[in-house]
C-alpha cells in the first residue's frame, strides 16, 4: 500500500511541476449547458464567415447550468468572459458593447443589438382551457403584461406581427377587461423556463392582486426548464397548464405567443479594460482562437 501511495504522490508532483511552467493566464470562457435557451440564442448570433458558434466552442470552456454560477465566476475572475440574460445582470460584473452597441430597449427592439431571444407563453391546442387559464392568458397578452416585463428587465414587444410565430396570424395587444369575479377553474399550473422566473412571478402577483386573492391559492408554479414546460403543455389533460419557453416553439399541439424579448448581455470582470467587442472577436474568443486578453485591443 505504501508503494502505491508513493507512486501517486510522485504523479501529483509531476503534474504540478508541469502546470507551473505555463503561467500566462488564458481567457476563461464561460458558457451555458448545451440545451439552455440562453446558449442557443447566443450560439446562433455569434458567427464568422457564416459559421455559427454551435459545435465549435473551445474545449477549455467552463460550462455552468445556472445564471448565478456564470455571474459569480465572472465576478471572481479577471480573465473571465460569459453571458447572461439581461434581467439577471447585476453590479458584480460589467456588460460590454457589441459592435459598439449597448443592450437597451431601443437597440433590442430595432434589432441593432443582435444577441436576443423571445420569451414564449405556451398553452395546449388539444384540450379546451378552463375559464381561469383562458383569462390569465388574456391578461398576459394584454398591455398589462408590460409592467411585468419591465419589472423583470425584459423588453415588451409592441409589434403584433412579431408577437406571433413566423408565418402565423399577428397577435394584437388587447386591453384586459377585469371580470366581475375570479373566473372558475382549478389552480393554474405553470411549468417551464427558469429564465422567466422573475417575469412570471411578477405577473402572478399582479393578476392575484387584481382579484384580491392569494396568488398561492390559484397558481401552482414549478420551473425546471423549457423542455419540461413544453412536455407538460403537450400532456395537458385538464386545460390548466401554461408553459414558458425561452426559445421559439414549433410543436404542432402547442399554441404560443411571444410576450417579450430578452437581450443576452456579454459580461466581463469589472477590473478589465474591455468595453467593446465585435461579433467576430466574440467568435474568436469563444472558439479559443483568441487566448489572452492582450490580443483583443
Amino acid at each position: 500500500m505504501k508503494r502505491v501511495f508513493a507512486i501517486l504522490l510522485a504523479i501529483i508532483f509531476l503534474c504540478l511541476a508541469s502546470c507551473a511552467c505555463h503561467m500566462e493566464k488564458n481567457i476563461t470562457v464561460i458558457v451555458r449547458e448545451e440545451s439552455s435557451g440562453t446558449r442557443e440564442a447566443f450560439d446562433k448570433v455569434i458567427s464568422k464567415n457564416g459559421i455559427s458558434l454551435k459545435g465549435n466552442i473551445t474545449k477549455d470552456a467552463i460550462i455552468h447550468n445556472k445564471t448565478g454560477l456564470v455571474l459569480s465566476s465572472v465576478a471572481s475572475d479577471e480573465n473571465a468572459i460569459g453571458y447572461v440574460s439581461i434581467g439577471s445582470l447585476n453590479d458584480s460584473v460589467k456588460a460590454v458593447e457589441i459592435n459598439g452597441i449597448m443592450p437597451s430597449n431601443e437597440t433590442v427592439l430595432n434589432g441593432s443589438y443582435k444577441i436576443q431571444r423571445p420569451f414564449v407563453i405556451m398553452s395546449s391546442k388539444k384540450v379546451p382551457l378552463t375559464l381561469r387559464t383562458e383569462d390569465f392568458l388574456k391578461y398576459l397578452k394584454s398591455d398589462l403584461a408590460k409592467t411585468h416585463t419591465e419589472a423583470s428587465g425584459t423588453i415588451f414587444i409592441e409589434d403584433a406581427q412579431k408577437r406571433a410565430n413566423e408565418g402565423s396570424e399577428p397577435i394584437e395587444i388587447l386591453t384586459y377587461e377585469k371580470q366581475n369575479s375570479l373566473p372558475n377553474g382549478g389552480k393554474i399550473v405553470i411549468r417551464g423556463s427558469t429564465s422567466m422566473e422573475k417575469f412570471i412571478n411578477s405577473a402572478i402577483k399582479g393578476y392575484a392582486e387584481l382579484y384580491d386573492v392569494d396568488a398561492n391559492d390559484i397558481f401552482d408554479i414549478e420551473l425546471q426548464g423549457s423542455s419540461i414546460g413544453k412536455a407538460t403543455v403537450e400532456n395537458d389533460m385538464t386545460g390548466n397548464v401554461i408553459g414558458l419557453s425561452s426559445a421559439s416553439v414549433n410543436e404542432k399541439d402547442i399554441e404560443s405567443f411571444y410576450v417579450c424579448l430578452d437581450a443576452i448581455a456579454v459580461i466581463v470582470n469589472k477590473n478589465t479594460q474591455i468595453t467593446n467587442l465585435t461579433i467576430e472577436q466574440l467568435y474568436d474568443i469563444f472558439t479559443g482562437k483568441i487566448k489572452g486578453l492582450s490580443e483583443i485591443q
Binding site: L9, D60, K66, G68, A151
Partner: protein, 599 residues
Amino acid sequence: MVTKEKLGKALFVLGAIICIISAISIFVFLIIKSAPAFIKIGVLDLVFGDNWSPSVSDNYNNALKGSYGIFTMIIGTIVSTLGALTIGGVLGYFTSIFLVFYCPKKLKPIAIMIINLLAGIPSVVYGFFGISFLLPFLSKIAPNNGSGLLATSIILGIMILPTIISLSRVALESVPRQYYEGSVAIGANHTSTVFKIMVPSARGGILASLVLGTGRALGEAMAVVMVAGNFPTYPNGLFGSFRTLTANIVLEMGYAGEVQEGALIATGVILLMLVTTINIIFNKISIGTVKAIATTQNSNKIKTKTESILRKINFSKIGEIASKIAGITVAIILFMIVSFIFVKGLPTIINHPWFIFGKFQFGSEEITILPSLICTVLVAVISLIIATPIGIMTAIYLNEYAKKEGRLATIVRGAINILAGVPSIVYGLFGMITFVKIFGGTSSILSGALTISIILLPTIVRSTEESLKRVLDSLRQGSLALGAGKLRTILKVIIPSALPGILSAVILSIGRVVSESAPLLYTMGSVIKQIPSSVFDSGATLSVALYQLSGEGWYINEAYATAVVLIILVFALNLIAELTVKGLSKRLKGDTNEGKSKK
C-alpha cells in the same frame, strides 16, 4: 397462534421482498427507458463515442442531428475518482491512524463527532465552498480559473474523507489488543508497533474503506458540477474543463429533448454499472478481510515481523508525523468550510429574521425559507413512514428468520448492497421515470418522498440488523423457554432491546433527507414558493433551495444563510442521535434486567 406466527413471518419476508423489488426495478426501469436511446444512437457510439453535442429537437422517428457519445465523461468520472482517492485516501488513511493511536483521549469523541458532521454536510454546500473559495485560490497557480481535475479531486477527496476515516478507524480498532501488547513486549516502541503490526493487520478493512469511498466519489453530482468546468472533453492535466457522468445528468436533464433524455438515462445506466462493479469488488474484499484476519491470528508471524521491523524504525517515524499532519489538516479543512459558510451566512440571518419565518410573497425580494423547511419536514416524515417499517421488517427477517447462507437471505443482502451503492442522482432519474409519471407527470412531494424512502432503506436495514445482532441470545432463549412464541419474542423482547440502534438509524436518516438534493431536483421540484397545501404539490427542500438560490444569482447572501441553517440542522440531528442512543441504552439496560427477572 400458529397462523399469527405465519402471518408475522410473511410480513417480515414481505419487507425483504420489497427491498429486492426496489433494487431490481431500478435496473429494469432505467434500462427500459434508455433502451430506445441505446438502439437509436447505437450502443458502441453511445459508450465509446467522444463527441457529445445533443440536439433538443432530436426524436426517435427522425434521423439524429446531434451526437451522443459519453466516453469522455466515463474517463472524466474515472480519473476524477482516482484523484479523489489519492487525496481523500492518503488523508483519510493517516487521519484514521491518528485518531486511533495518536489522538489525545479527551479529543477523540469530539473528533469522531466532527467527522460525522463532515459526512452530513450537503454536497451542495461543498460545491458552493468549492466555487467561492477553492477556485479563486487555485486560479493563482492555474492557467484558467482553477476549475478542472484538481479542484474536483480536492472537493471529492474531502467528501469521501468521512467514509474512509470511519471505516478505517473501525478496522484499526478491531485489531486484537494482544497484537499491540505482544509487539511492545518484544521491545518495539509505540510508533513502529502501529505501523508494522496494527496497520498491516487492518489492511483489508482499510482497503474496503477506500473502495467504498470510490463508490461515493463516482456517484457524487451536485458538488462536481460546480467545480469541474463541465466541457464534454477528456480531462487534460490538472486544470481544464472536463465533465463527469453525474454532471452530465444534472446539467442537461431540465432542458433535454426526447433522444437526449434517453441518452441521459443511459448515462445513468453506465454510472450504475460502474458503481455496481465497485460494489462487487467491495464485497469480495470484505469477505477476503475476514479470512485474512483469521490467518494472521498466528503469533509466530507477528514475532518474526516484529523482529524485522526493529531494524527500520525510521520509516515508521515518517508515518507518525504524517498521521499527525493529516489529523490537523482534516481539522483545518473542516474549520475552513464551516467558518467560511458561517461568516458569509450569519449576517443575513441576523439582519433579516423574516428569512426564516417570513410569509412567502410572489415577486417579493424578501426570500423566506419557511416553506422549504416545511417541505423538508414533510419529505422526512413521509419517507420515514414508508422506509422505517419496511427496513425494520427486512432486518428482522435477515437476523431472526433467514438461514445464514440461505438463498433468499443472500439475495436480500445483495439487493441491500446494491441499493446502498446507487448514486443519488440515479435515484433521481429512477424517481423521475416512475413515481413522477405515476402521479400525473409533474413533480410532487409524494414522488420525492417515495424516491428518498428507497435511498433510506439500506441505512435502516443495516443499522437495525446491527442492533438486532447485539441483542443477547440469552434474552431470546429466555423468552422462548418461558413459552412465548417467536413473534411474541421479537415484538416484546428483541425490538425493545434494539430500540436505541433503530432510533439512531431513523434520526440519521432524517439527516440524509435534509442533505440530499440530486434525487429531489427532478422528482419533487425546485422552485422556492408557498407552503405546500398537499403532498401532491411540488416544493423545494432546504438543500434544493440552496442549490436554487445560489444558481440564479439574485440571492447569494440568502444561499449562504440557507447553508448555515442546513449545517446547524445536520449538526443538531447528529447530536440528538448520539444522545438518544446513550440515554436509551442506559435505561434499557435497567429495563431488560427487570423484565427478565419478572418473567
